[in-house]
Symmetry: C2
Subunit: 282 residues, 2 copies
């Protein structure tokens, strides 16, 4: 599996991905799931992918020039009659449409053969960045090539093994969260995921993009030796345990406790205890 | 959906379940997912269920006497020629086999019709307790009627929406965890799940069973007014945030930081930045 998260804040964008792929537990490999497309001063785009690796690699390849000839017919043309690519798109929205077209192109080519092999056409992308002349944007692109955009209410997207690491994102992230704090939050989210799921693994790729810079130099590959990640991993685990211990245990017998677990009456019927084979359930 | 957790410790057993079921977001109902079977001094068994409600309710019904006549032929008989039920089973293992048989009985009756309606035969159970004469046991029973048993290495089982609440269980639980601490841990795990998933909801049913008592009076139904649950909910959220804030943010520019995020060299190649349409990916 995979775990990737993309976050859109007022201050910029944060992208984090793991690098483990598995086709069964005895077929574990390392593949990087993040690519940065950058023409400094003009555009920065970051692509994170999850799902079937053959599909996501094909899509990434099509986004480059090699297959452009083949794709050209299926792509909509720009105003000047030239095909729109991620390199000449006038907006991130147009670039997301190019990505969606590439996904559909691979679908047309591969989906039926995959289906014969019993495989779903399973892929999803986080795609975000900024094109000169408009604000930053962040998209989640589905296997059908359709996509949704992050808003202030939902400032982040996840793909892959997303559930383990979601609670901390929900608790911390707002559009006003500072960039470095959001990067820390993404790393904690990743750490929780790796704690509970073997199919997500180091090294991690982290990119932090500051709004309106149109280039990024905050790019780092994080492995088990990274001092900051090790500190986060150890501190979070240890302090979480301290917080857990600092919360009082439930007290059953003392109804005069400050926070009693058992109350004299609730509006819910008590739990059914069945004590004979003949007893009716309802 | 559903979230249920069952924990087996040296000191006893802990069971916690939510009560929300949904068949689409506009069809949300409250159904209790826990039943306690108890003959004080002889046996205590707790059943938690997840999956298709019509299946789990049928299984629970079959475990009672009403359908026993019908089931009798498909069940293995005991030594005395009488069918084995959860009420006369000599061990929790035999009781789990009775539960597995009941699941298979419902499968034989309903699976094909469900399949025609496009529905999988989706159900799973946590089933634990103690029968006089042996130790406590905890089982996870699958839709095929087969089951696995908790061990000291894996002291808990989850069914339903299990991923959000798994990290805290992994961090806290060992066989030596005291009962009330494990109950607190289960409640924190449930709280994280409800924070991130609307399909899991109050009220909760909590049962704590002390080893070798062969009856339980630690049974409580927890709703939003419960003082202990409210304290856990508020403290956990707030203290988690404090812990998060207490961990230093990453520092990008200072390579002399105590925990630098960026290191001069790693054994991994740097992240690919693509800056022209012609650039090769590999």
């Amino acid at each position: 599996m995979t775990y990737c998260v993309g976050i859109k804040l007022n201050a910029g964008l944060v992208f984090l991905s793991d690098s483990r792929t598995n086709a069964g537990v005895d077929h574990i490999s390392t593949f990087r799931k993040m690519i940065v497309y950058e023409q400094p001063g003009d555009r920065v785009m970051v692509l994170l992918s999850a799902g079937n690796l053959s599909i996501s690699q094909s899509v990434r390849e099509i986004l480059q020039i090699e297959e452009l000839r083949e794709v050209r017919e299926t792509r909509e043309d720009g105003e000047d009659g030239q095909p729109i690519t991620i390199w000449n798109a006038k907006s991130m929205f147009d670039a997301a449409r190019v990505l969606g077209s590439a996904v559909r192109h691979v679908y047309d080519r591969d989906a039926e053969a995959l289906k014969h092999a019993g495989l779903e056409f399973n892929v999803s992308f986080i795609f975000g960045g900024q094109v000169k002349g408009e604000g930053m944007r962040l998209f989640l692109v589905y296997a059908a090539g359709n996509f949704i955009e992050a808003t202030t209410e939902t400032p982040y997207f996840q793909v892959g093994e997303s559930k383990y690491g979601k609670p901390v994102l929900d608790r911390v992230l707002t559009p006003d969260t500072p960039l470095d704090e959001a990067a820390k939050c993404a790393l904690v989210s990743m750490d929780s995921t790796m704690k509970s799921n073997l199919s997500v693994g180091l090294p991690l790729d982290l990119v932090v993009y500051e709004a309106n810079r149109l280039q990024t130099d905050k790019v780092v590959c994080i492995d088990a030796d990274n001092p900051y990640y090790r500190m986060v991993h150890n501190s979070w685990g240890q302090k979480l345990r301290e917080v857990f211990d600092s919360i009082e245990d439930p007290v059953w017998d003392d109804t005069y406790a400050e926070h009693p677990l058992k109350m004299p009456a609730t509006r819910h019927s008590p739990l059914r205890k069945i004590s004979t084979p003949e007893e009716k359930l309802i």
